[in-house]
């Protein structure tokens, strides 16, 4: 199945708003490394809670390794970072859904998409807490902003 226009619109909208929202933070000489399995402290059916490490790193410079979920365009300044390569496409499949532990990445400037099979490292400022993109309604909990990335 690949006939779901809604999600595609969502992403287009996000791409549009992300362009204006990127900031350029002052980058510390060193940044703290953060792993996917360190994001949440308590996990339950009734909700997750951020780990102490995430709370401590809010607003600070972090590095995270993961996989880049394919954005709509090869050149993009917004994408979703996932723990494992996305084998489904929530942007295009009607019954696919994002994993719980995604991180939204906003780049300082557009970069070309890395192969889905390639591990990347993202560096930028960690933003913590639920935030709803006003243009699209896309809700994210964790963001790395003013970011750049490179293949490992």
């Amino acid at each position: 199945m690949s006939d779901l226009p809604f999600n595609r619109r969502t992403v287009l909208g996000l791409l549009g708003t992300a362009i204006g929202a990127v900031s350029t933070p002052a980058r510390a000489a060193s940044s703290a490394s953060l792993d996917f399995d360190e994001l949440y402290g308590k996990v339950s059916v009734l909700g997750l809670s951020f780990s102490d490490k995430v709370k401590a790193l809010a607003g600070k410079d972090v590095r995270m390794r993961g996989y880049m979920a394919p954005p709509l365009k090869a050149e993009a300044d917004f994408f979703v970072l996932t723990e494992i390569p996305m084998s489904i496409c929530p942007f295009c499949s009607s019954d696919a859904d994002w994993p719980d532990n995604i991180v939204v990445v906003r780049l300082r400037s557009a970069q070309t998409f890395e192969q889905a099979n390639a591990l990347i490292e993202v560096r930028g400022t960690l933003e913590v807490g639920s935030w709803t993109d006003p243009a699209t309604g896309f809700v994210s909990l964790l963001r790395i902003v003013g970011a750049d990335f490179h293949a490992i």
């Binding site: 809604f6 997750l48 084998s87 019954d95 099979n117 639920s130």
Partner: protein, 580 residues
Amino acid sequence: MRSLLAALAATTCLISAADAATVYPLDRATILVASPFDMKVEFDGVVKPQDVTVTINGEPAEKVLGKAVEFVEKEKGVEASAVIIRAGSIAKPGTYKVEAKAGNDTKTVNWEVFATPATAKAKNVIFFLADGLSVAHRTGARLMSKGMTEGKANGRLTLDDIPPVAFIGTSATNAVATDSANTMSAYMTGHKTAVNAIGVYADRTKDSLDDPRVETIAEALRRTTKKSIGIVSNTEIEDATPAAVVAHTRLRADKADIVGMIFEVKPDVILGGGSAYFLPKTTPGSKRKDEKDYIAMFRDAGYSLATDKTELAATAGTNTGKILGLFNTGNLDTTLDREFLKKGTVAKFPNQPGLVDMTKAALGQLSKNPEGFFLMVEGGNVDKMSHPMDWDRALVDTIEFDKAVGLAVEFAKTHPDTLIVVTGDHTHGVSIIGTIDDDKPGTEMREKVGVYASAGFPNYTDENADGYPDRVDVSRRLAVFSSNFPDYYETFRPKLDGPFEPAVQNEKKEYVANEAYKGVPGAVLRVGNLPRNADTAVHAVDDVVLQAVGPGSEGFRGYMEQSDVYRVLVDAFALSPAQN
């Protein structure tokens, strides 16, 4: 369409804008007498209200349906007119000829409105659906669970003793191929619809929540009976199959809206995954885009809440009447992961119940109602694991599905007024072709595929007689393949580290083989035969086998359209007899 019409008009000057209107319900629809449904006529162009007439058996449609008619001169986003009548109903069974006219153009469709017998055959109906259940799933589950000696099975599944009674055609209104939304919707409403649609006909406007609705079985039960309703699934409870018992949307992905629709109908027992769509968006882990807290809303509505297997068992001892059980933020883990390998999300949610636990709890609660009940139980992971061709997980989940059916068969022994239906919603292109024997010579895995006489028999064991193979990574295991696939690495082995993810997407939005499996000894690249935008193996168009036992099961026979199944269910319950 507009430019096409313009081009045609320029060349022939004969095409009318109102040519070929579409009428919903579609031609040959079967409609339960007195059930509310939306009627919509979509004209192909803009027409004037004074030129439009819509009649049913020669009478104005609004008079026959008993509701006001709305004329929309230009539908949103569409340069064309429509006529809509919401929640009308037809009081008498019979054949109804619907004529929609705009000027000289007429579109005619026929509906069959049916009544049920006056006397119910069954007090309870238990509808088991293993998503994607194909013949190979049954064969594989039997071989894995029971074994085989000299060509004869060493034991029988519960499924093996429920008579197969019909072949079910699963196609959608807009394609020969199909998905779990429109298929389950056909079972649960009696109307076929389009891929991705639930409880509605798929109209042309973009809004996914305005499409013409038809009544679901849960709504029909609430309207006509005091029976209890239960929905059980090991997927997200707002996923297409469980959603179709209650919901109405053009797009199954409207999961946040579907949770609201479940709340409107308030099934007495709701057990499954998908809590993320019940949590307000400010709660980390939520997938909602609003502040609605459905956990609190269900609690306020009198539901006991269970979030793991222990709490679910505890609800059986209480007398609350209504149970909401949510056991994972997403889909529940497969039986193989939950009970044996501890992979998937089992580390996060270590005490998830399985389909057997949930079916047991549901039967215990629902059977307290002297008026009877309708219970739908979905083994959703059979499909969720067949898409990525993770056959070990799909087959072990089929075994657990079979055990859940066994509970219902036991229940029916003391409650003989219970109709049990066991079916799939669609099939997969899956076949068992022999064995894979690690002890065959060489290093190339394809040379270890045993076919014909060299297949021998698999060597699964079940020392503790729990019905599950003690391990799936035995030296001579079932060789299972899909007829269709994206590019992937075939490893010829069970995926012990977590569910298989055959392909990942590249920068061209094409699915390429997931290189995580490239290094598995003996893995070979299989170049896909599906379009490159297909992420996993797809559904097959092959018929589904439907099995049934108990009062009313005689209504199933031969080839049936999926939508015909609904009529047998409501006949068994005698939901809507003809009124004199």
